[in-house]
């Protein structure tokens, strides 16, 4: 089933429940939403409303209990685990609040991590590409740094470079500036904005009002559904 071409992400009646000690927690209730390429989306909402749950679903890191989720027109509901992994690799770049860099890898190696799955490029090409990505994020001389020798803002930019490593069409970020000061927050949002301008679909969960200045569209997640703010 092909959905409207410009909607790279299409959510239709998504439900998501958690079960804890036999109790059902309904987090997403028939949630609908559309996301286009080349736009910057912000998702806001009070703590515990399900933002992380939603972004994990969009990033194919979690299952849904009901509804349909289309990426680029493809319904992912019945895809195998391996197919989903393939979609994550090709379509989705994930940015986390806690950066989640591998402490034992240098910046450039962290960025190359997703490229290891790519058999088309050789090692040299991967390295050159990673270096270019870092440079484009203002990390020119940080190739050989280990995460422990980077500032928070730098770590997050390395993480963004890693998310971009396989040139995905979608960037999802769960509170990417949650651990950063204002200045770094602005910088990260600017980078994400820039990426959306270059044609990527950027979806950012944030508590910060700053994000509204950058977002093309702000969604409010409340009571399990998305509404435009």
């Amino acid at each position: 089933m092909i959905k409207k071409e410009k909607n790279i992400i299409f959510l239709n009646n998504i439900t998501k429940n958690y079960y804890l000690n036999g109790k059902e927690i309904k987090v997403l209730k028939n949630l609908c939403g559309e996301f286009e390429s080349g736009k910057f989306y912000a998702i806001m909402g009070h703590s515990g409303c399900g933002k992380t749950t939603l972004i994990n679903i969009i990033g194919l890191l979690d299952y849904i209990n009901g509804g349909d989720y289309f990426i680029n027109g493809l319904n992912v509901k019945n895809l195998s685990e391996n197919d989903k992994a393939y979609l994550r690799q090709k379509y989705i770049g994930f940015v986390f609040q806690d950066f989640y860099l591998d402490d034992h890898l240098k910046s450039i190696e962290n960025v190359m991590l997703p490229m290891m799955l790519n058999k088309k490029l050789n090692y040299k090409e991967k390295r050159a590409l990673a270096s270019k990505l870092l440079e484009s994020l203002d990390l020119k001389d940080r190739d050989e740094h280990f995460p422990k020798n980077l500032s928070g803002g730098e770590k997050q930019r390395v993480a963004i470079a890693r998310a971009l490593a396989n040139n995905p069409k979608i960037i999802v970020a769960d509170e990417p500036t949650g651990n950063l000061d204002e200045e770094n927050e602005k910088k990260i949002f600017e980078i994400l904005k820039d990426l959306s301008k270059k044609g990527k679909c950027v979806i950012v969960v944030s508590h910060s009002n700053e994000v509204k200045k950058y977002a093309d569209k702000v969604f409010l997640l409340d009571d399990g559904i998305l509404t435009e703010a």
Binding site: D62, K90, F94, F96, Y100, H104, R162
Partner: protein, 410 residues
Amino acid sequence: MSLKSSIRYISIKLRRDKKNLFLMIFLIICSVVILTTLTFRNNYLKNLQNSIDKSITFRTLVVDPTDDPLSEDEKILGVNHVLEVYQNNYGFYDINVPTYNTENYDGMVELLYGTENILPENVIGKKFSKDDTGVAICPIVFYPWMDGSKEMKNDYLDGNKLLNTTFEVEREVYKFIDGKVVKSDEKYHKTFKIIGLYDNNEVYQDPFNCYISASDMKDLYDSTIQNNPNVLYGKFAVVDDRSNVEYVMKELSNLGFTSQVQSYIDSKLINSLKNTCNFIIIFTICIMIFISLMYIHKKNINDMYQYGVLKSLGYRNKDILKINIFQLLFMSIISFFIGILIFELLFRFAIIFYQKYFIYNSIFVRHFVDAYLITLIIILFIPTIISYLLLNKKINSQSASAMLGNKNDN
């Protein structure tokens, strides 16, 4: 994911993540223990088997005396496969050899009864026949020193230099007078020429054992000790091959003789040794399973969020398993080789340290390929299989977001 990139990734992780060191050190210790135990066990059993196969004492029967001593020899020799029969007090004679009594050796030599039928097969130089006199066949590595309580301090005499030289034996003479043993003032002297050399390790004799002819042995014994006319001596009957020993014993028993094999194997000791070795290996394996379980379980908990991150980057469960198992295989192989290195050092050290002991006791120590193979299999597979079982279950039972959630748990 290609093999090359996973190897590159793993080698980086191994070099930088010091937590791996613990398991590796442990695996190294295990390989050394298992390798040492197996090598010891194999060498012990191999040497035992060699001595059974090669030592004449495992095919020499001790035949009890009968009331009719005169016809014994003829009867026993009449049995098929019996090579030689002689009175058991002529079997060996410990004697002082002043020629070799220097500051380095105590000069004690054990002379053995020799006939053309029972001399070692391989002799450098000449053999003798039972009626020859004044001739001897000595070890190539000759050590005229019988006092086992003292530490051997010197090198062996080089038999090649002794060939065609002579030595003189000296012994007080005892006489049997009126039912009593009396020491006389005379001394017995005799000179022997070394006409041949034999490899004492090959036939499991001691390095102080020289063969002399049957007639010389009888003369020596009879002149210095004299047979007690009231004592009936048993006989030694040498069988041609160990496989015929049972047959000969049965035949002898049919003729009314009781006999037993001169040397026998203490099967209790051997079994307990085997059991001890098996216990050490099984115990090591158990500890290995336990430590691997603990280590891998802890590593899985610590690294689970990393696996979640890898999944978010597009890695499949299969890739994550592959990386982990390769990493453990790598660690095991490296540990195994370091273990071999350490074992090799210990082995060499033991050989140098116990060299004299080994030669003295005709012990050959060597490496056994199967010991290496078994060690490799144990070291390689236990951690890997445990890792596979634990991780496979863990990553297939939860979503990537649940894996990421694990970060907060520890």
